[in-house]
Assembly symmetry: C2
Homo-oligomer: 301 residues x 2
């Protein structure tokens, strides 16, 4: 059973989860022989370039609430990280956001080439689904099919891809707070929501528990995004590992441009509190998830 | 139960399956409201641009061997066609094969733009997995998880994506027949194999039946590809609905450049016979699959 830990342990647990999920990713992405190795090389470059591993942590912390064995939750965590990484590779392409730096490393199309980057993203998405459907993740086929279905809903045209489409379509136009909220809920919130949902599915949680964790994730995800916007304005490229100031340079409306720095900071705090409010039914076991909500609003990178 | 039909009915059944799968695709790809509609619009443009619907036919014909209800097999057929269409959209991108014409229509990046084409491909792949994991396809979760797993294996870095990577990596180099065979087995054979496998999975076929249908599909798929190469040399752009002569223009080794026209035609015939040989255990019920093998080697477009 998951032992509740003091809140100041959060960074240690984040580091521990990161290491554990990277071991699983390592095992799930072996380099093949032959010329097709190039695409796996590119998948690995993007996957092992670092990153906060927020989504893997959420899967594991939510699954821990239901005493799911780590061998299972870490596989789901790896699958989500693959899907998140695919979205970054494709978003960074010249035809999309045209970014040359990600997680402090050259992006895949810079390090390899555009064709390889497109294929590496495609293959990571596919491998994510494969990992969730594989009997190694759970002996219960209902759990496996449910994980796949929930991921597909979160990642597709009515989730993450739809959010990216809106983002591209509305560049240079003036969105209001409601429109940006919807954009972010699709573009990043849906997959963060699935991270918590996956923990609940693995734990065969009751529906009200599953919904509570997804509500927590949606509020947390939005708070996370607002802090990202704040860091983009305030931070340096070196600390972020990606280009700072890029939203402003591109004329993108963000929570910060609409609410101002202090207004945005306040909204992030309200959302983090709201997120924590959804955890009441889990009592003391949800300590890490509560600590994460504080961490997200105070992070510096 | 599936009624065996005279072989000359094949084209009628192909047309009938095409119409039926297009109705299912129509229902699975509704246009949403909001700016994200653009990506669904692009998905629909590519999906409804025509095409031979070979893979849907294979799913349905194989599932018919086990008396699977058409409502189920047509959903699997639609899922595969979505995944096939995603691969075409991405392969046609400027960074890949840079094709402006497909199925007689402007390709998605020409009709829309590159970013939308990348996202439309991503969303079609995702929607394909979603369709296979949805309880509407089968009440048995083992069937759903098995379909997802088999598709992911066929479509990923060790299947279709790996084949496309090899194709790009080896452009301008001289491959031998063995190397081209492996390339095609990954690039097109894996998904054609999954079409037949999906029918077997839905029908809860015995393992030797599943393997026999996959062996049929692999031989048929290779014969299909060789005929494609022949048509590329002999055909006109108007009849093909895509640019003719493009392999030669690009210096790509094909079965035709290695074996000559008559050698390639002979090889296609041998493979088609070999494909039919795998169907013996299904007796008279496999009439349509046998007819398809003849059709594939004699088609003119």
């Amino acid at each position: 059973m998951a032992v509740p830990r003091p809140l100041d342990d959060l960074e240690a647990v984040l580091a521990e989860t990161t290491q554990a999920v990277e071991s699983v990713l390592e095992a799930l992405l072996p380099l093949p022989n032959g010329p097709e190795a190039r695409v796996v090389d590119a998948m690995r470059h993007a996957t092992f370039a670092g990153g906060k591993r927020l989504r893997p942590f959420l899967v594991v912390a939510c699954a821990d609430l239901f005493d799911v064995p780590r061998a299972q939750s870490l596989r789901a965590a790896a699958a989500i990280e693959m899907v998140h990484t695919y979205s970054l590779i494709h978003d960074d392409l010249p035809a999309m956001d045209d970014d040359d730096l990600r997680r402090g490393q050259p992006t895949v199309h810079v390090m390899f080439d555009e064709a390889t980057a497109i294929l590496a993203g495609d293959a990571l998405l596919t491998r994510g689904f494969e990992t969730l459907a594989d009997p190694d993740i759970s002996s219960d086929p209902n759990v496996r099919a449910d994980l796949v279905l929930a991921l597909a809903r979160a990642a597709g045209a009515q989730g993450m891809v739809g959010g990216q489409m809106i983002d591209l379509m509305t560049e240079g136009t003036s969105l209001n707070v409601g429109q940006i909220t919807r954009l972010q809920q699709l573009k990043t919130g849906a997959l963060i929501g699935f991270a918590c949902e996956a923990g609940a599915i693995l734990g065969q949680a009751r529906l009200r528990e599953r919904h509570a964790l997804m509500a927590y994730a949606h509020d947390l995800g939005l708070a996370f995004q607002i802090v990202d916007d704040l860091l983009d304005v305030e931070g340096s490229t070196a600390a972020l590992g990606k280009r700072a100031g890029k939203d402003e340079g591109r004329g993108k409306a963000t929570f910060v441009s609409l609410l101002g720095i202090s207004g945005a900071r306040q909204k992030a705090g309200i959302l983090a509190n709201q997120a924590v409010g959804h955890l009441d039914m889990f009592g003391i076991k949800a300590g890490l998830l509560r600590a994460l909500a504080s961490f997200v609003t105070t992070r510096r990178s």
